[in-house]
């Protein structure tokens, strides 16, 4: 008997992107997709989603997924294998390598996208059973300076506040954070606070980002000078009424030394301004605002963390909050905004080489405690290698086995070319992945394991405000996909550790993790969720978002810490830490520029997921380098041209965006592109592997670099319904489109070369336009049903035609009228030019917004009322406001 068909129920889960950790309501459509909405009950987002989260439904397809284990055979070819064969191979090789080289020859490189349970399983296997602490994660690239700063200042890796503090602040200082693009949902909260209570916004960033454009005060400081600025602020605060002598006295140590050190580098406003490359009056205004405003939250992200002095920057910020006692109270505090969905969860289980487990380190007592808890036979007793060091050790052949889970180090690590060569020498390279191909998968792993993806995974994550939320599955696991913990368990069993890994499901792991957090804790460790140690299956299923600590016996989570001291240091006092005096970074010949890297609004990490969503590719479809006009002009560079960026470590070729918001002498390039979606856009290859000496976090914001024009006499695009291999030597960047893909192309290949390529593709039916003397060639190939199969538009550099009008033909039939116009780049009856997508949530392009403004929409609200643009996640509001100014400016 058939069960009646019921519409699938909605499932509450958590977004897989940034560290805001928004609640998502997913309603499966029964066809492998799902309707995605914001979860109104989730305290992180209260129903909002950003453009990326809102487009999650476009990323659920199985086309790019790895669905079966793959094993590299003796012939060197990766072939489908059974899980048993794959796990046998891993276990056998691990045992063999440990026998021959010791446990230090084994490493795990994990990801802030793993669930806490998966993370826990990997960490436990490595540190307790294989005996290696070489367990690091891409959180090293993201969070570790904040972690190190927090540990130095607080004695623990603790974010003291809550998102609610953003609602209740009167001053929000964003330093090294393009919040409007990278944490849009939080930025909306900040904007609401500005509306509701007149909260002032100060943005500190070498680059005038969209966030900076929205600020009440924007401080375009010199790269790496944040610690000097906050040292100057500390000096200023110390002699102001804002100084909280009682708090400093009762709950801190080291103030006098820190103040003395600060006075040495930043004795007054003038010196501070000079050292930071800022205007004196701007610094004065910032200091005054900070001094006057008790309810101040200072948020910091990669601009602070990804620095050779990142840990010092964090402590310089913490110092100012400690000196004013503005910590752990409503509307105030330092606030590290995390970049990954479970960076914090990873740290909770100890998923970093310098952590053991559950916020414990490698002291003999802690090692012993964890040994006893796990019943572990082979405890790692010392810190392992941090990411950059780990890959260097792999390159030197000291590490023989590497298991990478859920991250793409061949793109994201600094000196990424070196990563690719380093892993070639591994005896065992295991990659647990969602996708069949990315740059790391191209590095010839011996084993590829098909990992469960978002929508299939089942477990927990922790966001930037210490809030643990469930990621719940709402789709069946396709093919032979398994959760990572199950793969790890399989290896542990084969190595004879079955009893310690006898979990039946994620709830078992979570309970064990919770129990360990409370094990011999007694309030000595901040991370304690032992209230969950006895959770039933049903209760695990229903965990509502909750902020740790949550020790046994407590019913509710903890919104804030440290208002009354209680730091996790031996004397329970916070530490003022004096930053080392380091001058602002500068480029020097032959690399006169400083290359800054970061995210763009609508992409995330290496685009293996966001790159699948057409509307997310429409905002910025190609990798670019932002250049100040004064730097661009002498090189003859203009927006839309290509430039080669080189460093001592690699090269990339990127589209130039001339941007007056860029500090002269600095460049900015996004981190998202890889060889999987571009020919020369992998910026990780350029970034130097200089790390913060305390946190080990690479400085991805200030690599000395050179810039030169890249000769590309021809440029254009390719559109196709399918993946196409473009000719060797062509510069390209691929974006997903509805029904296919679009490639920006440029290079030396001219009309006749492209005509030959089109002919070689052997289309069933083709239309062509050639004007060889003008450098122009266009072709549209049609399949047997008359649908557009692919199109090539090539022209002389500087005469790029937009693909906006044509891309619709990938997802529709081609009418006779459209076919006659297809090579003109227009469609019949359509106003073709619509410009880049501004509002990704509602698909509103630039020209539509400009038209609305010309028709009378006077502000962003009016544009929103008319077009809906900017009314969902709001990450495009800064751009809309800029367009309004542009449209209103007299021509």
């Amino acid at each position: 008997m058939n069960a009646p068909l019921a519409s699938p129920p909605s499932v509450k889960t958590t977004c897989p992107y940034c560290g805001v950790g928004c609640g998502v309501k997913a309603t499966p459509d029964g066809l492998g997709g799902a309707l995605i909405e914001g979860d109104h009950d989730h305290p992180a987002n209260l129903g909002r989603l950003c453009s990326k989260g809102a487009a999650l439904g476009e990323t659920l397809g199985l086309e790019t997924r790895l669905l079966h284990p793959m094993l590299r055979g003796a012939d060197g070819v990766l072939a489908r294998a059974t899980w048993d064969a794959a796990l046998d191979r891993i276990a056998g090789d691990l045992r063999d390598i440990i026998d021959r080289h010791g446990p230090g020859a084994v490493a795990f490189y994990l990801s802030g996208q793993l669930l806490t349970e998966d993370y826990y399983a990997a960490n436990k296997l490595a540190k307790g059973f294989l005996g290696t602490a070489n367990v690091d994660t891409n959180s090293r690239l993201c969070m570790s300076s904040s972690v190190a700063g927090h540990k130095r200042g607080f004695g623990s890796d603790t974010v003291p506040g809550s998102y609610e503090d953003l609602d209740g602040a009167d001053l929000i200082v964003l330093t090294g954070s393009n919040t409007a693009w990278c944490h849009p949902v939080l930025f909306r909260r900040m904007e609401q606070a500005r509306k509701a209570r007149g909260t002032k916004l100060v943005v500190i960033d070498p680059r005038r980002t969209d966030t900076g454009a929205e600020a009440d005060l924007f401080l375009p400081l010199a790269h790496g000078s944040d610690a000097i600025l906050f040292s100057g602020l500390l000096v200023h605060l110390a002699q102001s009424l804002a100084f909280d002598a009682a708090y400093v006295e009762a709950h801190t140590t080291g103030f006098a030394e820190a103040l003395a050190a600060a006075r040495a580098v930043a004795p007054d406003v003038e010196t501070t301004a000079r050292a930071c490359g800022l205007a004196v009056e701007d610094v004065e205004r910032f200091f005054a605002l900070f001094t006057e405003t008790r309810r101040t939250v200072t948020c910091y992200s990669q601009g602070v963390n990804q620095s050779a002095v990142g840990t010092d920057k964090v402590n310089a910020i913490l110092n100012c909050h400690l000196a004013t006692g503005r910590i752990g109270r409503e509307g105030m505090g330092p606030f590290s905004l995390t970049g990954q969905p479970n960076a914090m969860g990873g740290r909770e289980v100890g998923g970093l080489a310098n952590q053991l487990a559950a916020h414990m380190g490698f002291s003999p007592a802690e090692v012993d405690r964890v040994r006893r808890f796990w019943g572990a036979p082979h405890m790692a007793e010392h810190e392992g290698r941090k990411a950059v060091d780990m890959f260097a050790a792999i390159g030197r052949g000291e590490i023989k086995a590497l298991w990478v889970m859920g991250t793409n180090p061949a793109v994201s690590l600094p000196e990424a070319d070196g990563v690719r060569t380093a892993v070639e020498g591994l005896e065992l390279f295991v990659l647990s992945e969602n996708v069949q191909s990315n740059d790391t998968a191209a590095c010839r792993p011996h084993v590829m394991l098909p990992a469960a993806a978002w929508g299939e995974k089942d477990g927990t994550v922790t966001n930037s405000e210490r809030r643990i939320s469930r990621q719940r599955p709402f789709l069946p696991r396709p093919g032979e996909v398994r959760p990572d913990w199950l793969a790890l368990k399989g290896v542990a069993q084969r190595l004879g550790f079955g009893d310690a890994f006898a979990w039946r499901g994620p709830a078992d792991i979570f309970r064990e993790h919770a129990a360990l957090s409370g094990f011999e804790n007694d309030g000595t460790r901040d991370f304690d969720i032992s209230a969950f140690a006895g959770l039933t299956e049903a209760a695990y299923e229903d965990i509502a978002p909750v902020q740790w600590p949550l020790p046994a016996g407590r019913a509710e989570g903890t919104a804030r810490l440290f208002a009354d001291g209680g730091y996790f240091t031996p004397d329970l006092r916070a530490r003022f830490v004096a930053p080392r005096p380091v001058p602002a970074a500068e480029g020097t010949a032959p690399y006169p520029f400083l290359l800054n890297t970061g995210r763009i609004r609508d992409q995330w990490h290496t685009m293996t997921r966001t790159g699948l969503a057409p509307r997310l590719g429409a905002h910025i479809p190609a990798p670019f380098v932002a250049v100040h006009p004064d730097d661009a002009a002498p090189l003859g560079l203009a927006t839309g041209m290509l430039a080669e960026v080189t460093s001592a470590h690699g090269r990339a070729v990127l589209e130039v965006v001339v941007d007056a918001g860029q500090r002269p002498g600095t460049l900015f390039a996004p981190i998202h592109w890889s060889h999987a979606n571009s020919s020369d856009g992998r910026v990780g290859a350029l970034v130097h592997a200089v790390t913060d000496p305390i946190s080990g976090q690479p400085d991805a914001k200030a690599t000395p670099a050179a810039l030169s024009p890249y000769a590309a006499p021809f440029e254009g695009f390719v559109l196709a319904r399918r993946h196409m291999a473009l000719p060797e030597g062509v510069w390209w960047a691929r974006a997903a489109l509805e029904g296919g893909y679009g490639w920006r192309i440029a290079g030396r290949m001219g009309p006749q070369d492209w005509a030959q390529w089109v002919t070689a593709e052997g289309p069933a039916d083709v239309a062509e336009l050639s004007d060889t003397p003008s450098g122009l060639y266009r072709a549209a190939a049609f399949d047997a049903d008359g649908r557009l199969d692919f199109a090539v538009f090539v022209g002389a550099a500087g005469q790029r035609v937009a693909w906006d009008a044509l891309k619709g033909l990938l997802a529709s039939e081609v009418s006779a009228a459209d076919r006659r116009l297809v090579l003109s780049g227009r469609r019949a009856g359509a106003n073709a030019a619509c410009g880049p997508l501004v509002c990704a949530c509602f698909g509103v392009p630039k020209d539509t917004i400009l038209a609305a403004v010309r028709e009378g929409a006077a502000d962003a609200a009016a544009v929103g009322a008319r077009l809906k643009a900017g009314t969902n996640c709001g990450s495009c509001l800064p751009e809309i406001r800029k367009l309004i100014l542009e449209a209103k400016a007299p021509a």
Binding site: E768, L769, D771, T772, S774, R820, R826
Partner: protein
Amino acid sequence: MSEPLLVIGNGMAAAKLCEELTRRALGRHAVAVIGAEPHLAYNRVLLSEVLAGHMTAAEAEMKPAAWWRERGVTLQYGTPAAAIDRAARDVILADGRRLPFGKLVLATGSHPIRLPLPGMDLPGVHTFRDLDDVEALLAAAAVPGTRAVVIGGGLLGIEAAAGLAGAGVETRLVHLQDRLMERQLDAAAGAFLKRAVEAKGIEVLLGAASEAIEGESRVTGLRLKDGRVIPADILVVACGVIPNADLARAAGLDVKRGIVVDDTLAASDPDIFAIGECAEHRGMTYGLVAPAYEQAGVLARRLAGEDARYEGSVVSTNLKVSGVPVFSAGDVTGGPGTEDIVLTDRGLGVYRRLIVKDGRLAGAVLFGDTADGLFYLDLITSRTPIAAMRTELAFGRDAVAAAA
């Protein structure tokens, strides 16, 4: 009293001249038209349509008899002119009559080229020039199972072949060159045209040199130089035309390939003019209707007393084969100093080649969609610089306007 104006030739140029002249200066001249063919002037371009049975001969007439009557034009058709007596200012007809003129216009058209092949005089060998030819071909085509060979892959030959095929005749088209209409079309357009002609049921033989017409009492086939013999019950020679300047030459007027005229369209006698295919202006003779009409228009204005000059025509060809239009204008030979913009769409059967010289449009070849033919012709004629519209140009007038 009106000055006697005599027109020799009753073709399209003559009809156009009469129309323009009577519209501008009705009654200024006593106009008489002498036609060799026993018909009212007809639209020669439509001969293949008549042959194909798509229209009757009467429907191809330029103007009905009443039209000529109402304008007081005397028609002397069916009696050819035999000579011009310049001293007496008379034209002598074949029947000996003399007609005096004050002004004389020669619009004698062309002769079809006859090939120097053995068997050219056999019964069943036709040219394709006039209604008589069409009537003869129609009579032959009426016999079931008739097979035809047309020699000549130019405009005329294709039209003859299309007409015959349309009349139900098994038709083969033999052409010396390796592509059809090689003077107007490039290889790609020629290939398009070949497919369109073949779609009409016509077998096309390219690079086929004729050696002899075979047959004893009437044509039985065409022998090619490669030895092949193509069976034929009728054979049409449509290899082009030469200007008919016989009368002028005999009258001592200056004649080269055609009757040499100046920019006033006057021959070497200031009272004698020549227009249409028989005229040679600035070294050019034209085998198409549009220049003839332009010349007729200029001459009509001059005869009406206006100042008008003819400075040559940009040649355009507009041809419909099997419902597929072909257009060619200007200089399509290409060569040094020219640049090509080529748009092809095999699926749509559209081809456009625009020839650019010195930043201006010099020529255009259109196949399949000729709607923009006159747009290109205008650009060629007006010598408009095209740099600003170059990327849109191939998509025609609307695209250029939309992008402007």
